[in-house]
Symmetry: C2
Subunit: 193 residues, 2 copies
Amino acid sequence: MGAALALVGKGRHFASLGIREVTRQAGVVPTSFYRHFRNMDDLGLQLVDELGLVLRRMMREARANVLQSDKLIEESVGIFVAHAQANRSFFLFMAQGLAGESRAVQEGIRSEMRFFASELANDLRRLRLMDHLSDADLDLTCDLVVRTVAFSLTDLLSVSPGDDYQIGQIRKRTTRFLQMIFVGAGHWQSDGA
Amino acid sequence: MGAALALVGKGRHFASLGIREVTRQAGVVPTSFYRHFRNMDDLGLQLVDELGLVLRRMMREARANVLQSDKLIEESVGIFVAHAQANRSFFLFMAQGLAGESRAVQEGIRSEMRFFASELANDLRRLRLMDHLSDADLDLTCDLVVRTVAFSLTDLLSVSPGDDYQIGQIRKRTTRFLQMIFVGAGHWQSDGA
DNA sequence: GCTCGATGTGTACACTTGTTCACTAATGTG
DNA sequence: CACATTAGTGAACAAGTGTACACATCGAGC
C-alpha cells in the first residue's frame, strides 16, 4: 500500500498502476502481491480505509484547535491545508478516486465525505451555530462545505508542494468560499425563497 | 478520439487506456494512431479542445433559454444536467482529467473552467444582478458556482444514465447549493466581516 | 492523368503484464 | 522443541504493449 501511494505521489494515476509496478516499487517479487490483495481494486479499497483514519485524525485536530470560535473557518482551512501537505499522497489518491475507475473505491470515498459532512453538522449543532437551520438545511450546508474543500484539494495538489505563495493563495480563496457559504446559510430560509 | 471517449464512457479511466486499446476500439491498426497523435497525452489535449466546444454550446443554449430571470438558477442547472447526459463521455473525461495523470490535460480543463466562470461573471454583470459586488468578489462567486456544478458532475456521472429519480435529486440538490451561494453573495460585504 | 500528401496496413521486435505453481524463510503459539 | 501460519521467492507462460519501418490506397490539385 505504501508503494502504491508513493507512485501516486510521484504523479501517476492509481488507475494506471499495475501489480508488477507496485511490487517493484515495494522491493518485492510480483507474486507476493497476492499474499495481501486479490487485485488492484482490493488494494484501492484498503487505501480508502486508511484514508478514513487520516481524515479522522484531521477532524480530531481541528476540533481540538478550533474551540475559540473567533476565526473558526480560517483555522479549519489552515489545518486542512497542513494535513493535505503532510499526507499529500493520500489526498492525491482521494482526489483521483472520486472519478476513478473502480466503482467501489468511488463509493468508499464518497461515503467518507458524507461521514465528514455529518460530523461537521454535529459540531455546528453542538456549538449552537446555525441554530435557525432545519436539520436538512444544515446537512445541505455541510455537504456544500465539504465539497468546496474537496475541490480545493484539486488546486492544492496541482501546485508543487513547496510553493508556499500559491498555497497561501489557495488557502485564502478557500476561506472566502466557505465564508460566503456560511453567509448564505446565515440568511437562509428553508422555503428557499 | 471517438474511440477513446467510447472507452471512457464504458467506465474505463482515461489514464489507463493504451494506444493499442484505443485503435482496436476504433477498428484500426495500432500504427495508424501515430498518424494523428504523438501519444496518449496528445490525444487527451485534443479531447480537451473538443470539450471546450461542448461547453460553449452549453453556454449558448443556457443564455438563449434563461433570459427571463425568474427561475434562472433552476433552469441553468436543468440545462447543465441535460447536456451532461447528452455528452456523458465528454463530461466523464472532464471529471477524470481534473485529477488526471497528465499535467497538461489537467491545466487545460482547469482553464476551461476559468473561462466558464468568467463568462458567467460577464453575464451576471450584464444582467445587473449582483451589482453590489466588486469585480473580484463577483469572480469569487462565479468560481464557487462553477466548482459546485463541476462537483455535481461527479454525482451525476456515478448514477446510471437512466435513473431519472436520482438524477432529479441531484438536480434539486445542486440547485439548492447554488441558491445558497447566491444568498451568500447577495449579503456579502467585501471586507469579509 | 499524374503526382503528392494523408491515411491505413502488415510485420517485426523487445518488453511488460497478470497469474500459476511449488518451494523456502521467518514467526509466534502450544 | 515441533508445528502451523504468514510472507516472500523463482521460474514459467500466454497475452498484451509501444514503437519502427516499408508498403498500399486513395482523393485533390497541378
